[in-house]
Symmetry: C2
Subunit: 350 residues, 2 copies
Amino acid sequence: MTEQRTGSSPTLRDVAAEAGVSPATASRALNGSTRNVSADKLASVLRAAAKLGYTPNLSAQATARGSTKMVALIVHDIADPYFSAIAAGAVEGAEAAGLTVTMAVTDRSPDRELEIVSTLRGHRPHAIILAGSRIGEDQEALAEELRAYEAAGGRVAVVSQPGLPYGTVTIDNRKAAEDLAAALVAHGYRRFAVLRGPDVLRTSRDRLEGFVAGLARTGITVADRFVVEADFTEDGGHAAMTTLLDRGPDDVELAFAVNDVMAIGAMRALRDANLVPGHDLAVAGFDDISAATDVHPALTTVQVPMRAMGLHAIDLALAAGGEGEVVWLPTNVVLRDSTPRRTGEPVISP
Amino acid sequence: MTEQRTGSSPTLRDVAAEAGVSPATASRALNGSTRNVSADKLASVLRAAAKLGYTPNLSAQATARGSTKMVALIVHDIADPYFSAIAAGAVEGAEAAGLTVTMAVTDRSPDRELEIVSTLRGHRPHAIILAGSRIGEDQEALAEELRAYEAAGGRVAVVSQPGLPYGTVTIDNRKAAEDLAAALVAHGYRRFAVLRGPDVLRTSRDRLEGFVAGLARTGITVADRFVVEADFTEDGGHAAMTTLLDRGPDDVELAFAVNDVMAIGAMRALRDANLVPGHDLAVAGFDDISAATDVHPALTTVQVPMRAMGLHAIDLALAAGGEGEVVWLPTNVVLRDSTPRRTGEPVISP
DNA sequence: ATGAAAGCGCTAACAT
DNA sequence: ATGTTAGCGCTTTCAT
């Protein structure tokens, strides 16, 4: 009978001793192929393990095997519904594949992100998944870190950021924004403002450009003063709308915010100015986070399959080949009450 | 010069060889106390590590040291803003303490949860943090698993679930609900309905009981038919409100949903019935998730410091002693427009 | 089918 | 201050 010290878990040795077999056999019975261990030994090992409450030490397993069953997920902010939806998909996919997820948060700081990748790399995860637009231009250090990780056999997948030499799952932000513009014009809108995020965010740029391009296609332009830049957050949206209102939106009929949280902030700003979103000024967003249907009026937006993106990222990370494979997921314009159909002339005629 | 195979990372040996020192010295320089290694060797080891792009293998480190720098976080649903806020706090605290977080999602299934605890235990995390009400009564298997984990030296902390023999961070749901009831009565409300969650959820029970007790203190009772049970989710809130409306709310003035997501679902149900939340029927929730201020009218609720709860859970998990220590965090009633002050008689008099 | 033994990458006495 | 040596818990040849 092996004496069980408190303060530490039973080891494979303990189980083997208890079952009266060698550690090798115990290993085979518990974690290796069941094939070549006799039924009776198998049973007694299993019994011993259960009795002792044995759980394999995954770290030891990892060092011995040289590989882990972990995937590292890096997001900018887990409290942001956009990222938490992606995370939910990723966790779901990972668990289905028997992987455990380790998560880290960059707080939108490139330095932090580099640090995180470096730390997480220490766990030798099977894959590293980066979600969300990288910020800033100088990505050399990060790229180097990832290159080293890949060279060592790790997989990298990125979410919503085409153009990197990794497996990528994304949507076509430009085209989706174009579609939204077209739908809005078809809905009767003619005069637009755009609440955009920081220029360094590729996502923000793509959506802005797509939207403007979509309008241009119908001969509509957006004056520079009606393109307001602010943070990619709800407060940013609030600030942007406040600025827009200050500048005098004149006959602007609709403000397109490049993401939903900004749009929701913008709606709040309208209310703070005693205006009614959808009535006094229509608002559209992008992402279709769950709050988009919670607000009133419900927000017109572009559906982004965030959860599915997380799931596909795992698939990509697990797929053998396809180095730079890009998975484009479909989007969908959903018109809701924040952009009521517009007939006849503008409310405020010039 | 050590030959570097592709497909695997440089090891400490490689670094040591490159620097012309023993592995032990390299270890001390890189991961041990810097104290007892000469400045020049230190420098050359560091240089070698940088040159090779060395990252310590945390698994190997863990097996050798017998301890890890990981904490496992278990939540019911990471896409739920309540949990993602707690997770954000936990991740923040963990990163500050140099720990990495591994996350798993129970999907509110006790079986799944047991499985998860068992798997995560394999990583020998420094601590396991359980967030959210346990479901169901028969917790023996889970309790046993946790007991074994603790016996082996692990720390367990739970969030929002007093009564377990672990470090706990929670709020006083009962009292907070009482406070809310009192505030609402002071605000002029007299006739209430409650949209509650499943009876197995302790949180739901506590909030219901507290609310009813708070009303009772002022001589107000809630008829059984005005207490509607549904899922603890937004759809649950929608369903509950729909049921309430079907039953004929008579002169009910305010519906208290035991959490914000239910309250928001309830508001949606009101709109679906062509009623205006706050005007035709006041609504109050509980948690103060960020969406509470996004909806219109903004939701009256009880502020729960979710992020702080996540942070404190880490503290608790790191604190040496205090086995069953319970940290009670303060809550705050916030009255918003979904419960306008009520003067004079009910809108619909009997 | 099973065990003995070597080794995964790292740390920690123990020497010196 | 540094190197040598023996592990940590597990897997995996290699024998038998």
